[in-house]
Structure formats: structure tokens, C-alpha cells
């Protein structure tokens, strides 16, 4: 059953080959020998991608640089702010990918150390919000530790509701204020 099929395919390939030969006929085929007449090409530079180690910018954010084959450098500032739901300290799935990048960098060099600054929105009492901010920062730390980062590279500090980034007294402001900021030193 299979042999005729193979024959058909082989025939088709052979025929195509012939057709291709016909098409190329008007152009004189370059003799292989003439290649050596041309100046020899410069030996290709060894393709070793340049590596720029991750760095910390003035804002305490982590900057990852990648160099492509053309030598172009692209810088990526890692997102260092992670948001939380009201009265919650659960690290959102949406932040996992970015946190994994932080984890990889911190694991690559134990010299990287970061402050995990926990914050809360203005609702509720100040001391309870300090505790809530700490719980959030601890949640981020636990996630990073679970990815392999040493806990000695991280310090948790809570500011509760004392350092808001938005002064709007509504959900639009509150959702921005419930956060943990990873700040490298």
C-alpha cells in the first residue's frame, strides 16, 4: 500500500528537480572554481554576546541590559512595585513573572540586597495598617525565598498608610497605595 505512494512522491520530486533545472538554464551556472578568485572573506568575528551585568539605578530599581548580535543594548527596568487587594497580602499571579526576574538576578549575585517596603491604603487604623504593610512585604519575601533567593538579601520595612503615592480618597487612589516596593541599594 505504501510503495506506490513513495513512488509518486519520488517522481514528483524528480520532476520538480527537472523543472528547476530548466528554469536556471538561461543563467550560466557559475563554475565552482571561480570562487577562489575572489578575495577571501574576513574571518567571521566570534559571536560572543556581550554581557552587561544587572545594575541598580538611582531610584533603587534593577536594570537588566541585553546586547543583541548587532551590539545594540536594550535596557529593561524591572517593575519593582506589586499591588494588593484590600485587606489582603496575597501576591497576585500577574506579578509572578516579574518577581521571577528579580529572583534570578538576586540569585546571580548575592551582593544584590533589597528593601521590601510594604504599604497600605488609608482605610482602617494606622498601627494595624503598619502590620498589614509588613504582612504584604513578607509575602513578597516568602515568594522570592521560595524561588531560591536568600532571605539575608532582603529587609522588610512597613510604612503602613504613612507614605501614599496617591492622595485620592477613593478606590483609584487606594489601589495604588496598597503595594510593596522592591528597592535595591
Amino acid at each position: 500500500m505504501e510503495t506506490p505512494k513513495i513512488h509518486v512522491i519520488l517522481a514528483a520530486v524528480f520532476f520538480a528537480f527537472l523543472l528547476a533545472g530548466c528554469e536556471s538554464e538561461p543563467v550560466a551556472p557559475e563554475p565552482v572554481a571561480t570562487v577562489d578568485d575572489r578575495p577571501p572573506p574576513a574571518p567571521p568575528e566570534p559571536v560572543v554576546p556581550k554581557v552587561i551585568p544587572p545594575a541598580v539605578n538611582n531610584d533603587g530599581n534593577l536594570v537588566i541590559s541585553t546586547v543583541d548580535d548587532m551590539g545594540n543594548v536594550t535596557e529593561e527596568v524591572l517593575q519593582g512595585i506589586f499591588y494588593f487587594d484590600f485587606d489582603q497580602a496575597i501576591v497576585k499571579r500577574a506579578g509572578h513573572e516579574e518577581l521571577n526576574k528579580h529572583a534570578r538576578v538576586m540569585m546571580s549575585d548575592s551582593m544584590f540586597s533589597a528593601r521590601l517596603e510594604g504599604h497600605a491604603d488609608e482605610r482602617g487604623t494606622r498601627e494595624y495598617n503598619l502590620a498589614l504593610g509588613e504582612r504584604r512585604a513578607n509575602a513578597i519575601r516568602s515568594y522570592l525565598v521560595s524561588m531560591g533567593v536568600s532571605s539575608s538579601q532582603m529587609e522588610v520595612i512597613s510604612y503602613g498608610e504613612e507614605k501614599p503615592v496617591s492622595s485620592s480618597h477613593d478606590e483609584s487612589g487606594w489601589s495604588q497605595n496598597r503595594r510593596v516596593e522592591i528597592i535595591y541599594r
Binding site: G124, E127, Y128, A131, G160, E162
Partner: protein, 433 residues
Amino acid sequence: MRFCLIFFLCVSSAYAELRIVVTQGVDNAMRIAVVPFEWRGQERLPEDLAGIVTSDMQLSGRFEALPVSQMLSLPHEANEVLYRDWRLLKVEYLIIGYIQPVGGQLQVHYELHNILRQSVEVSESIIGSQLDMRHMAHHVSDVMFEKLTGIPGSFSTRIMYVTASGPLQNRIFRLNIADADGHQVQTVLESGEPVLSPAWSPDGNRIAYVSFESDSRPSIYIHDLEMNKRMVLKRYPGLNGAPAFSPDGNQLAIVLSKSGSPDIWIYDLESHRLRQITRHYGIDTEPSWTADGRSIVFTSDRGGKPQIYRINLQNMAIERLTFEGDYNAKASLLADDSGLVMVHRRDGIFHISLLDFRRGRLSVLTETELDESPSIAPNGSMLIYATQHGGRGILAAVSIDGGVKFNLPSSTGDVREPAWSPKKQRNFIPVAD
């Protein structure tokens, strides 16, 4: 880098930063008249004593004062009082007096007359310096208030509070202490980093608070106001917060999270020993001592949501006190331990509520939305709290019976975390005339 500005000072500012606006007074306010006191000396006096008394009485929300322009006579001593005049003006009580120089000091004489009975209810004098004139006026207000209502006045007390001003990225935090009428503001601490949780010692001579001024990490400070000296408690990793003096002033309940989660600890100010009181993986915070010093009430989310609990310091037994609502926090006990005031969320709104232990009843005292930090006046009849007004943090006060309400708007920035001083700032002993 981080901006950190710290001033550590005790300077009086010339203007009043808080202004009292009565938003609700009692329905049947008592009608009184305060006649300008006669000055029997030479130089001009720095303060209008009767004006301060009038203002105190009106701001209590319980009195309606007759304007001076409507007075038919201006008596200063008992023999000058014509009761009929005041009866015509529907005045129920009359306050009169005079001030005279006595050996470089001032003698203030004050009298309270019952117009209906035509009787003298109070007639006494106090002596103080010119610099003490405002305090002397508040003393007169306290005496009159107690005589007329049966409740000790709290006009001689002070209020400590925190302000935050400037743009969000560059805020200046100040810890201020003002007289109960909002005057004579003193800035105790000024910093570019957060300052919070101010608390008074029972004698009113020391305060404790949390400041992030050192490397923007939290530390607990104790400031002796009389010596103008302060000390910092050893800082532990994590939270260092919520200081509360024990009723005898020898211990400080604090919150540390060095054991992994926020717990209540007691720091002994004499032996400098630290003792862990609560042990739970949840949040335990905001300790407040019972008047007998044998228990501490605190906020905990060990049951899933923040609620108020009480721990007995002898046998460490823990009892849950609040069951109504899904957010009850920052309790502070009434002076007789008969109940507590706290932040209570109802229908998503944060109110100040009173929990009466005897009746087991919870009553909402404030109608605003983001209320926090209730602090009770030493006379137990009023409480001051922080709220939002026009998008800004202000202080407001309400009587425990809910009948009187007033706001204390500030001229600048957000005002928060009021703490009512436990004692009078100055005591005057009345002398015989």
C-alpha cells in the same frame, strides 16, 4: 536619596493652628453671661481673660453666651450685680471678676451668680504670672463648667497630634502639643519621615511615639517634656510601634514583630526588661491598658478579621470583646473600665463607636467616614478623633453621649492621631479673699 530632616524643639508659635468650630451643641444650651473682667493695674494685659472663658464655655457646646454689646451693666463684684437686669436678658448664670497686680503677679478673682436664685455659687481667687494668663482663664472655665454641669472641665488639658504637610513625595511630619482650645501650639518633633502613635504618660510629663527618622526605620522614642530630653528604645527588626504607658507609668506596652509576626510586648522602663505578652502568627497590635493595669486590650486578626481582645496579665487568659462588625480596632478604655471606644466599620464606613461592657451594647458616636484614633478626655465626657473633611485630615470631638460635636480644622496640612493629655497642664490652688 532620602530626605531626612529632624528638628527637636519646643517652640511656641504665635498663631493658633487649630480652630474650634461647634457642629452640634445641646438643644437646651444654658444661657450664661461672662462680663469682661476689670483690670486694676497699669500696663495692658496680654490676654482677654473673660474672652477666653467665654470661648471655652461656648466651644463646649453646652452654653450660649450673651454678647457683651447686649449687657445692661458690667459688674465686677457681687455688690454691683443687679439680678433684675440679667433676668430681663434671660441669663441663667453670670460670671464676673477682676484682675489685680499682687507683688509682680496677677490675682484673678472670679464669681459665679445664679440669677434665678440670686445667689453666689462660686467666689474665689487664684494667683499666677502674666505668662500663665491663658491657663488661669482655662482654670476659671474648668471651675464654672464643673459647677454648672457636674462634670470636671477639660479646658486646662492639652492635645497632642501629628500633622503632615507639603507634597506627597516630600512630606514634613510634625508632632505638636496644643492647649485644648487649639492655642499655644508647640512643635515637639519635625521630620521628613513618618511620625505616629503619640501617647502620654499618666502624669503628662512624658510622651512616647514612633518615628522613622533614623534611616527611615521605625523606632520608639520617649520624650521627657519637663527635662526636654529624649531616649530611644532598642530597635528590633520589623515593627517597633504602638507604645502605651501603663497606668503607673513604669511600663510601656509596645508592638514588635521580631518573632515573625506583630505581638504585644511589655518593656519595663526601670529594669529595661522586655517581656512577650501575646504569641500568635496573626496581627496583634494597638495595646491599651485597663485602668487597674492588670489587663491589656488589643486589636488582633487571629479570628480572620480585626477584633478587640483582652489579655489578663496575671494568667495570660485571652478573651474576645467585640463580635459586631468585621473591623474593630484601636480600642481605648474608659477611665472606669466600664467600656471602650474604638474604630468600628459598618457598611464599609469607619466610625468611632462606644462599646458599653455592662449593657453589652455598641453605639456609633460619629457619622463621618474615615474616622480613627479616638482619645478620651480626662473628664471622660468627650473624645477627640481624626477624620476627613474636604479631602483633608482634621481633628473632631464628640461627647460620649453623642450630644455635642465640634471640629478642629487646621490652617495647614493633614492633622491626625490626637491624644488627649491625662492631666491639667497647670494647677491653681484657690486662695481665700
